[in-house]
């Protein structure tokens, strides 16, 4: 396990992973799309329930990817580990994209169901803050020329942003929000019927598998980019 922390070993151990995960994601997406449009309408939401099959997985991924960004940043900051720093940098744009999707698709569901595109309630606002943390992380990394300093500063910001994750998750319990409380991960079990839960879970698996395929590819890219920079420096030094 710890051997994988060596970038070159990680590259060779995960060489085929993006292709395998990519095929798995394609199969899961095909099944998820079929199940999403063969599922019955919800008795209250009507056909807008089908927005949930793209909104909820994006929202789950926005939190999961930030968790991955936070853990990677911790190892990068404390142990100055190159692979952890590459993993953190690779995760940020993917997490930002999933968070943007969660916000946009949530808004498209909110308009017909709540009668508003946006409401400054605790859940929506904390997810917007999460999106800003992603953007801040990427902007900070891009604004400092020294890669090591940029990595450390961004890692600190990522760790600060971890505080927001339980706020996002429990905002619907701690405050009186327009956003409904959790309907899948509940102590007393999901409130959804199997007809609606199955497409949701399959789509969530598709999103998660796709994320890992893209994340591993992006980590490979980051390692190659750093190796190229090191070689250029070596060549310039030897000239």
């Amino acid at each position: 396990m710890f051997g994988l922390a060596n970038p070159q070993r990680f590259m060779s151990a995960t060489r085929l992973a993006p292709a395998i995960l990519g095929v798995a994601a394609a199969v899961l997406f095909a099944a998820g799309i079929w199940l999403s449009f063969t599922a019955p309408e919800d008795y209250q939401q009507g056909d807008t329930v089908r927005i949930m099959f793209v909104h909820v997985p994006a929202a789950w991924l926005s939190l999961m990817v930030y968790g991955a960004l936070g853990v990677s940043s911790f190892f990068a900051l404390v142990f100055r580990h190159l692979l952890a720093d590459a993993a953190a940098r690779a995760a940020a744009p993917l997490g930002a994209a999933f968070t943007a999707l969660a916000l946009i698709t949530g808004s498209l569901w909110g308009r017909p169901m709540w009668g508003t595109w946006w409401e400054w309630d605790a859940r929506l606002t904390s997810v917007l803050v999460l999106f800003l943390f992603y953007l801040g992380y990427m902007a900070l990394r891009a604004s400092i020329d020294d890669e090591q300093k940029a990595g450390r500063a961004a890692a600190v910001l990522a760790l600060v942003g971890l505080v927001n994750l339980p706020i996002v998750k429990f905002s619907v319990d701690w405050w009186n929000t327009l956003h409904q409380p959790a309907s899948v991960f509940r102590p007393d079990g999901p409130t959804l019927t199997a007809d609606l839960l199955t497409p949701l879970i399959v789509m969530a698996l598709a999103y998660t598998t796709l994320f890992f395929a893209l994340w591993i590819t992006a980590i490979h890219t980051e390692i190659r980019r750093r190796r190229t920079a090191a070689l250029a420096l070596k060549t310039a030094g030897g000239a």
Binding site: W34, F37, T38, E41, G46, D47, T48, R50, I51, V54, H55, A58, P93, L94, A97, A100, L101, I104, T105, L108, W109, R111, P112, L210, L214, T217, A218, H220, T221, E222, R224, R225, R227, T228, L231, A232, K234, T235
Partner: protein, 51 residues
């Protein structure tokens, strides 16, 4: 059979699915394009370092 008639909710449902498909496609395209560019740059750098 799939139900594709979203009635009055069509613009919202298809809008959400369309935007999701577009963002996911863009994400895949960006990651793959970056990967190809980085692989080529490394090959070129290794070639130069070997010369």
């Amino acid at each position: 059979m799939p139900d594709l008639d979203m009635a009055q909710y069509g613009p919202f449902v298809w809008g959400a699915w369309g935007i999701s498909a577009a963002v996911i496609a863009l994400m895949i395209a960006a990651v793959v394009a970056d990967a190809r560019k980085a692989a080529k740059a490394l090959r070129d750098a290794e070639g130069e370092a070997g010369e």
